[in-house]
């Protein structure tokens, strides 16, 4: 068996068996399960939770319409026409018999006025519902005073007709854009997270081998270049395995949860029919290319440290690029045509995230995407060539290593002629 494959499968299998892999995968799958079943879970916790609100109606006319409105809205607020004084209501709230109380009055114009009192006002839903109900009642009263019919009122409240039409051929419609935004956001996050997570894994792996000094035997049996790329691709394979497991379990949960919940909650937000294969294809390409670029850089950096503790410090500058790319992309979600976004999409360290955003959000000519990918591949090749050299020298270097000078030292060590 070629030594490259030996390194690749060793890296892959050792990582696959490791506790950290099993735990992160299990947690992610649990999260997916939670997400898929979110509506059921939320219902479960809120089932018995009925807010008891005492209403002290000083106007003597508002309680009945308010109760009618609230009943129409939802079933979680229980209104009680309270006959006692405010003081006794307050005592009951403080003792926990009531959740809150509401004082209703009418002002000089005959409109309702209300004061809501509870232990804390951190809870927003109940007062918001009450306010909304009173607003409706107020609208009714006002309309009545003006002598308007119900049909006339409905007309006043109906929303304005506002349509956006994209003139450019192939540009996304408003609906498509909203859908795209969700998918692009999710995929962006996946790319960002995977590049950061798996890239980090590479740097730590290299540094561990160096720190345990097993490196010198390794590089005496297999060339550093084969070793570096065996490792990088082994971890890439691990990443793909992890995503496969997560997607598979997500799919199974969706099927298992049945037709009652599939259209509810977060899942209904994603209309999978709108997800184009093209976009998924680009996501895979940019994930792989982005990973390769950062993994090469991080393997190179990992080869320069002597102790595992120094890794974080050394990879921070590299990680900042991917974090910056992510922030540019977040800005680009609402302004995909901004100049900075366009410019950033051609900078190879930003391309995997920012160019993907542009492809997902706006209709860019094929050559722009192509150019970005070409630049990205080009810089991967350059990084791989330089990285392999630095790696070759770096793995033999021990001592304090925290500066850029080490790159130079490592390169000199690896040089044929010096």
């Amino acid at each position: 068996m070629n030594k490259f494959w030996v390194v690749l499968f060793h890296t892959y299998l050792q990582r696959l068996k490791s506790k950290s892999f099993l735990i992160t995968t299990a947690i992610t799958i649990a999260l997916i399960y939670g997400l898929v079943n979110l509506p059921t879970i939320m219902d479960y916790f809120d089932k018995d939770k009925i807010e008891k609100v005492a209403v002290i109606d000083k106007s003597n006319v508002l309680f009945a319409p308010l109760q009618k409105q609230i009943e129409q809205m939802n079933g979680t607020i229980d209104l009680e026409h309270y006959e006692g004084t405010e003081d006794s209501a307050r005592t009951q709230v403080m003792e926990g018999e009531l959740d809150s109380y509401l004082i209703l009055k009418t002002n000089s114009k005959g409109f309702p006025e209300a004061t809501y009192k509870a232990k804390t006002v951190a809870e927003q839903r109940v007062p918001a519902d009450l306010e909304q109900a009173l607003q409706q009642i107020k609208g009714g009263i006002a309309a009545e005073q003006l002598g308007l019919s119900e049909a006339q009122i409905a007309e006043v409240y109906s929303p304005v007709d506002f349509n956006k039409v994209a003139l450019e051929e192939g540009a996304k419609t408003e609906d498509e854009l909203n859908q795209a935004r969700v998918f692009v956001y999710i995929l962006l996050f996946v790319i960002y997270f995977s590049v950061l997570f798996y890239g980090n894994m590479i740097a730590v792996e290299v540094a561990t081998e160096k720190a345990s000094r097993v490196m010198e035997i390794l590089i005496s049996s297999v060339s550093p270049v084969k070793q570096m790329f065996g490792k990088i691709l082994g971890v890439a394979l691990l990443g793909l395995t992890q995503y496969f497991l997560i997607l598979l379990s997500g799919f199974l949960f969706l099927r298992g949860s049945g037709s009652t919940t599939i259209n509810e909650g977060l899942v209904s937000f994603l209309d999978f029919s709108n997800l184009s294969l093209e976009l998924i294809g680009y996501a895979v390409i940019f994930f792989l290319l982005g990973y390769l670029l950062y993994a090469t850089l991080l393997a190179m950096v990992g080869s320069l440290v002597s102790r595992v503790e120094e890794v974080q410090q050394m990879i921070m500058p590299v990680q900042l690029f991917i974090i910056a790319a992510f922030f540019i992309a977040m800005y680009g979600l609402s302004n995909p045509e901004a100049g900075i976004v366009t410019a950033a999409s051609y900078f190879p360290l930003f391309t995997p995230i920012v160019m993907f955003l542009r492809i997902g959000m706006i209709n860019i000519p094929w050559w722009e995407a192509g150019l970005g990918i070409l630049l990205l591949i080009g810089s991967i090749v350059v990084c791989a060539l330089v990285g392999a050299k630095v790696y070759r020298g770096g793995v033999l270097m021990y001592g304090k290593s925290t500066s850029l000078k080490d790159f130079k030292r490592a390169l000199t060590l690896a040089k044929k002629e010096s």
Partner: protein, 299 residues
């Protein structure tokens, strides 16, 4: 000649680690590379293995350049020992053996043999971090020889081992040589070199200061030692012409002389002075040679 190092120089910037080194290591022999710390031994080994490239000169094994295509022929025990602490002995050797081009069944077979030989068969499924340092070193040694290399490079193989294990490892080294392995090793311990090596080279600041077969080296050194065990004061002998060093011992003296003939003069001087229990002319020890060649320029 099997291993040929021709006029090899390695410079790191302004610093010359190895300076015009010429070495030939005969096949199926044990060759000792000696030198103080920083003399260039590890750098030489690293160049031999192709881990770093020499600035000038050629290195070849049986006429061929050493590179990753020949790595299955070569075994290496680095001075800085290192194994994966979290892997079991078995997984470790499987991985390292595969990287030397072996098949799984061969590795298991060889591993069992070696573990039994080193009297530690029960360590097969233990993690390396659970083993003592000496036992880790045995595993490290197995990793270097498991693929039956033609050329074995051992950098300080016996450091940090107790005397029993040193013997165990020495026997293994001699056995390997007998089976036809060419062995190149470095050490600070002169008695090990004297015991094992036919040929040797002493490096000093990257330059070879002494090289050749053990016998030649000793002969050409010229100086010899005379041990005298006598019941009277021998200090007057230090005045004799040709005496280089005089050292009193509990029962007599050790006298270093610059030529064999001086011993005759010493012998004559002793006659009639009293009772001499022992008069012995000895080859210089490698230790003497090393200290003289390398130590002198330390002062």
């Amino acid at each position: 000649m099997a291993l040929d190092i021709k006029d090899v120089t390695k410079r790191f910037g302004a610093f010359t680690a190895v300076d015009h080194l010429n070495l030939t290591v005969p096949e199926k022999e044990i060759f000792g590379l000696l030198g103080a710390n920083g003399a260039g031994k590890t750098t030489t080994f690293r160049m031999l293995l192709g881990l770093i490239d020499q600035t000038e000169g050629q290195i070849s094994w049986k006429g061929e350049k050493i590179n990753y295509d020949t790595s299955h022929l070569i075994g290496y025990l680095p001075e800085e020992r290192g194994l994966y602490p979290k892997l079991t002995v078995k997984d470790q050797l499987l991985y390292l053996g595969r990287l030397r081009g072996m098949k799984k069944t061969e590795i298991i077979q060889e591993m069992e043999n070696w573990l039994t030989r080193f009297k530690v068969p029960e360590y097969k499924n233990k993690k390396v971090e659970e083993l003592s340092k000496g036992n880790q070193q045995k595993i490290q040694f197995i990793a270097a020889v498991i693929h039956n290399p033609q050329l074995l490079i051992l950098d300080e193989p016996f450091s940090g081992l107790d005397p029993v294990n040193v013997e165990l490892l020495k026997e293994a080294v001699v056995d390997l040589k007998e089976k036809g392995t060419t062995i190149l090793f470095s050490s600070h311990r002169m008695e090990h070199v004297e015991e094992l090596c036919e040929h040797l080279c002493i490096l000093h600041k990257g330059k070879p200061v002494v090289a050749g077969s053990l016998k030649e080296v000793k002969r050409s050194f010229g100086k010899k030692n005379v041990f005298i065990d006598a019941e009277f004061d021998l200090s007057f002998l230090s005045e004799v012409e040709g005496v280089v060093k005089f050292k009193r011992t509990a029962r007599g003296a050790i006298i270093q002389i610059n030529d064999e003939s001086v011993s005759q003069r010493l012998f004559q001087q002793l006659s009639g002075k009293g009772f001499v229990r022992k008069f012995e002319l000895e080859e210089p020890s490698l230790n003497d040679i090393f200290i003289e060649k390398v130590g002198a320029s330390y002062e």
